[in-house]
């Protein structure tokens, strides 16, 4: 067990760019005001604790986990709404595909209603739509799932704020340091420039990074439209020079 005292062999992750990522305190998104730390974050390079992560095997997936049209529907029925395919790749900042990443997604139904007991929007539930799915990326970092396009919905922030149609994503890559939750928006949605939650982003480039374009190449004729959404996780440094220890 003496090996335990040897330094880690994994390479560190590139620091998170805090000038690019949103701040914690963004007053136009009111809930952030009392939920944002006020002290400076304590910065330090990643260690083994952040450079490792659990393994999610493809074996944990059920056949319908990435099909929100069917995974909560009664036999012979399906969810109501515009049928879409969402596909893309999980990459790191060096552009490498991230295989084996756990991708979880959740969303409102076509009327903009979530299946949650704290949800009070008057739009009806769809009895055949649960609103969640998951998948694991392939060898090249690719993923896809089928769902219905969610509807926009009002939310209590300003007196008349509406969320653009969106799908929430949770991504688990190869290190706990890469852990990320974000949202995907749809090309052309007029609510995008009005949304206070999108408004926390610091540049148009950052907003654009979360907008999925219509992808006619992946559309299934007479069946489903397709949208492409790539996700980028923090990059892991190469080990060759900088992490080489003396005497190795």
């Amino acid at each position: 067990m003496s090996l335990i005292n040897t330094p880690p062999k994994t390479a560190g992750f590139v620091p998170r760019d805090r000038n690019w990522q949103p701040d914690a305190l963004t007053p136009a998104y009111k809930t952030s005001i009392k939920r944002s730390p006020q002290s400076a974050l304590l910065s330090f390079p990643t260690t083994l604790s952040e450079e490792t992560s659990p393994v999610f095997g493809h074996g944990l997936l059920g056949a319908l986990d990435n099909d929100l049209i069917l995974n909560y529907a009664k036999s012979g029925e399906s969810a109501i709404g515009p049928r879409i395919i969402v596909h893309g790749r999980v990459l790191d900042e060096m552009g490498r595909g991230v295989p084996g990443a756990l991708v979880e997604f959740w969303q409102a139904n076509a009327g903009g209603r979530y299946r949650h007991k704290k949800e009070s929007y008057l739009a009806p539930l769809d009895p055949n739509f649960g609103g969640c799915g998951r998948t694991i990326t392939g060898e090249d970092g690719s993923y896809e799932f089928r769902t219905i396009q969610p509807g926009p919905y009002p939310w209590p922030n300003g007196m008349n704020d509406w969320r653009p149609a969106h799908i929430h994503f949770s991504i688990f890559g190869h290190g706990f340091a890469q852990r990320l939750i974000t949202q995907m928006y749809f090309e052309g949605d007029p609510h995008i420039p009005l949304c206070p939650i999108i408004g926390i982003l610091k540049s148009q480039e950052a907003i654009d990074a979360l907008i999925a374009p219509l992808d006619m190449h992946r559309t299934v004729p007479m069946d489903s439209r397709a949208f492409k959404f790539d996700i980028v996780l923090r990059g892991q440094r190469q080990t060759y020079f900088e992490n080489r220890k003396e005497g190795m």
Partner: protein, 204 residues
């Protein structure tokens, strides 16, 4: 003009929103799917080392418990080995998952992890770090997930030599990182997003 660095930018973070449990712990919300939620059990059989439980609540800046948060933890086994594909230092406890996810109690917001006391792992220069658990908190109103660490109040000697704990300027804030032993293997670790007891959060 110089050449371009062909790096991509990390996807911008967005809040997990009020319904993160639908996506990450759907069975907790009553959506019966997947045969159960991920991260609810950190053990798949008898484990090595001291079994402990950590409970706590995430509080906002007014002292109100969050009931729409999700807390994830990640840690090595009792010998300090991670159950990770890139663990190269030895074979971790096969019955220990190392990763846990809690939605908090629906009414009180209290989270609870039943796990093992983690072993120590090295700092990049080879010094040993004090035993700790890495934690990540997301919720409505949190624009980018918050990382912190759970150290143990009863590891005084290891804490006193820890490369991070000894470097913190405001030593009076260190108790915000210490799980307090309450009874037997029970530890308490509350998380304060803001205010006089604000937890130290990490940029890692």
């Amino acid at each position: 003009m110089v050449q371009k660095l062909d790096y991509l930018r990390e996807s911008p973070s967005q809040t997990a929103g009020p319904y993160v449990h639908i996506g990450c712990m759907p069975n907790f919300t009553g959506i019966d799917i997947y045969g159960g939620d991920l991260g609810t059990s950190m053990k798949t059989g008898p484990v090595q080392g001291a079994e402990i439980a950590i409970t706590g609540i995430v509080y906002d800046g007014t002292g109100t418990p969050l009931r729409d948060a999700m807390v994830e933890i990640w840690q090595p086994d009792a010998a300090g080995l991670f159950p990770s594909a890139n663990e190269t230092r030895g074979h971790p406890d096969p019955n220990f998952v190392g990763w846990g996810r809690s939605p908090g109690d629906m009414t009180t917001g209290e989270f609870r992890f039943e796990t093992v006391k983690p072993g120590a792992v090295p700092w990049p220069d080879g010094r040993m770090q004090a035993p700790h658990i890495t934690a990540w908190i997301v919720a409505r109103g949190i624009n980018i997930g918050l990382h912190t660490r759970i150290y143990f109040e009863d590891e005084e000697d290891a804490n006193a030599a820890d490369p991070i704990l000894t470097r913190i300027e405001h030593q009076n804030r260190i108790p915000t990182l210490l799980a307090r032993k309450t009874n037997g293997g029970e530890y308490r670790f509350d998380i304060h997003l803001q205010g006089p007891h604000e937890t130290i959060f990490f940029d890692i």
